[in-house]
Amino acid sequence: MTRGRGTGRRWLLVALVALALTAGPPLARAVPTRPVDIDAGTLLGRVQAAEDRPWSGLVETTGTLALPDADQFSDVAALFGGSTRMRVWWRDADHWRVDQLSTSGEQDLVRTGDRTVRWDYERLQARFGEEPSVRLPRAADLLPTELAARMLRGAGPDDVTRLPARRVADRTAPGLRLVPASPRTTIDHVDVWADADTGLPLRVEVYDASGRFLTSEAVDVDLATPSEARVSFTTPPGAGVERDDVLDIADAANQYAPLIAPQRAGGLEADGSNGAVGVYGTGPEQVVAIPLRDREADALRDQLGVTPGARQGATGTRVTVGPLGVLLTGAEGEGGLLVAGTVTPPTLHAVARDVIAGYQYVGVPQ
């Protein structure tokens, strides 16, 4: 027994074990998916049919957009500019629960009918409120199912092509690529991988001209319908309870601004809104127009003004972050109209012009 031989053999053994342990999980994930023979149109139909299908699981999203971090919009900036982990229990569009996880707590959203509860563990607080007709994007909107539904809404078989299947959440998921035909959108293409059996979207990647800026993937999926208890909320002992009259700045503007936005703007149809806030377009080309009061508009204008690439024009201040265009009309002390969406600058300006021109003024609601 000499040192050289025995030691070499032992090190080799350890190296092999280490290799097996590190390479094992990626290899297991790389197990080829079973062949899926389905054309793009059929798959699109299946995905669209699976909208609001019950499921539960764990979702991870990553966004790479550096949005201006203005006070009222900081949650949105965090959502599109970082990673989010969510647990999901989804019975149907009106009964679901999405827990946004952090290392030291949770911010949960429980939707029961038209009532929504927001639970914040670190504040030990439950906030009850009505589900508003218009609101800013929130974590639950980034679920692959929600994202796919939004992006594929209105798409037809001619807009999509097939992508090779991949393994997502240990399921075989054939892929679908949507390349928007509209010249108004800034979104280059959207890739969706959906469960081969049910059409449930499991992974969504969204690209602009310069590359991918948003990914959402279900890392664990259970296709059983979650129990009703799972998607209900009872305030735990010791927690504070509050009632929200308004959810966010968009909801507030929609409810309280004495205006009604027009039904068409910049060549886009309104998306079922009848308040002060207008949401126009469907699928990858969507734009929102929110009237802001002086204080909010000024703060946002300051923030936009110092954002790299900001343009001051006759209409107002415009910023482009990746695919997202943001335009705030007006000047200091005048209030303004915030127009934001995944559309090109000319469309942005057209929407602003049409909305301002088309506002109907109404009495202040009681």
Partner: protein
């Protein structure tokens, strides 16, 4: 040898001094919280630290979140780094091997000794924190109309559930130290100086913590030593989120297999010339 190792550990003054040092931080934090009544802002500070202001029984968990990222692993790295290199430096390694204690047996005994230290430390920290939490911090049971504690997910946890999950969290935290201990033990068979061995393990610890904050390191993250350490919080979500906990345990076991294996590969036929 394992028994001797445990007896030596329990009788060593150094063991208790180290435990006292690790325990000091949660004690200071508890006193400060009790005096100022100022919790960390949401999204900052260790987990559960804001919750303990209303419910002192959660303080063992907050204490765990305080010592787990840095204090405990440093102590573990120092202890495990000393395991072989310390015996060699003291000259007692050759006499142990001549006794004879099998070399593989010695490595395992040392790892068991270090883990016994971890168990002891975590239990002491948790026990002190419980007493401090009850004595100094919030009294949930007095103010709440319904008995129980809020889970992270906003459901209600009964006291038995809370106790069971707290012990599970303590156990998980102990398991998390296996990786550091194995790495330090391996380093300890590699170098002559116990300090160098501890520094080696700490370098990995710091490196892992740093890489975790880097998006570019995403492909590496599932393999990083500290990746799943704070997943004990998942035990207090409702239902328990097993995803990271399971990966955390497997990762630590992987570290044990690889680094204890490497320690064995290096040490089994190493020339003992100290």
């Amino acid at each position: 040898m394992i028994r001797v190792e445990l007896v030596s550990l329990l009788r060593s003054r150094r063991t208790w001094a180290t435990i006292a040092l690790v325990d000091a931080l949660p004690v200071i934090v508890a006193v400060l919280l009790a005096v100022t009544d100022l919790g960390p802002r949401p999204g900052t500070g260790p987990a559960f630290l804001s919750a303990v202001l209303t419910d002192g029984t959660l303080y063992p968990l907050a204490a765990l979140a305080i010592v787990l990222p840095l204090f405990l692993p440093i102590a573990v790295a120092v202890f495990a780094g000393e395991a072989i290199a310390g015996e060699a430096q003291q000259g007692t390694l050759r006499y142990l091997l001549l006794r004879p204690v099998g070399r593989t047996h010695l490595l395992i005994a040392k790892l068991v000794g270090v883990m016994a230290f971890v168990v002891l430390t975590v239990l002491v920290v948790a026990a002190t924190a419980y007493l401090l939490g009850i004595g100094l911090l919030g009294h949930q049971s007095v103010t709440a109309s319904a008995p129980g504690t809020a889970s992270v997910s906003g459901t209600s946890l009964s006291t038995p559930e809370l106790v069971a999950r707290t012990f599970a969290a303590l156990g998980y935290a102990m398991l998390c130290m296996l990786g550091v201990a194995s790495v330090a033990l391996f380093a300890s068979t590699l170098v002559r100086s116990p300090l160098a061995a501890a520094m080696g393990a700490l370098a990995l610890l710091v490196g892992s913590t740093l890489l975790l904050t880097l998006d570019a390191a995403d492909p590496l993250k599932p393999y990083l030593l500290t990746r799943y350490w704070l997943a004990f919080v998942d035990l207090f979500r409702d239902p328990i989120l097993w995803h990271d906990l399971v990966r955390g345990v497997l990762l630590q076991l992987g570290y044990v297999v690889v680094f204890l294996g490497a320690a064995w590969a290096n040490f089994a036929t190493k020339d003992i010339s100290d």
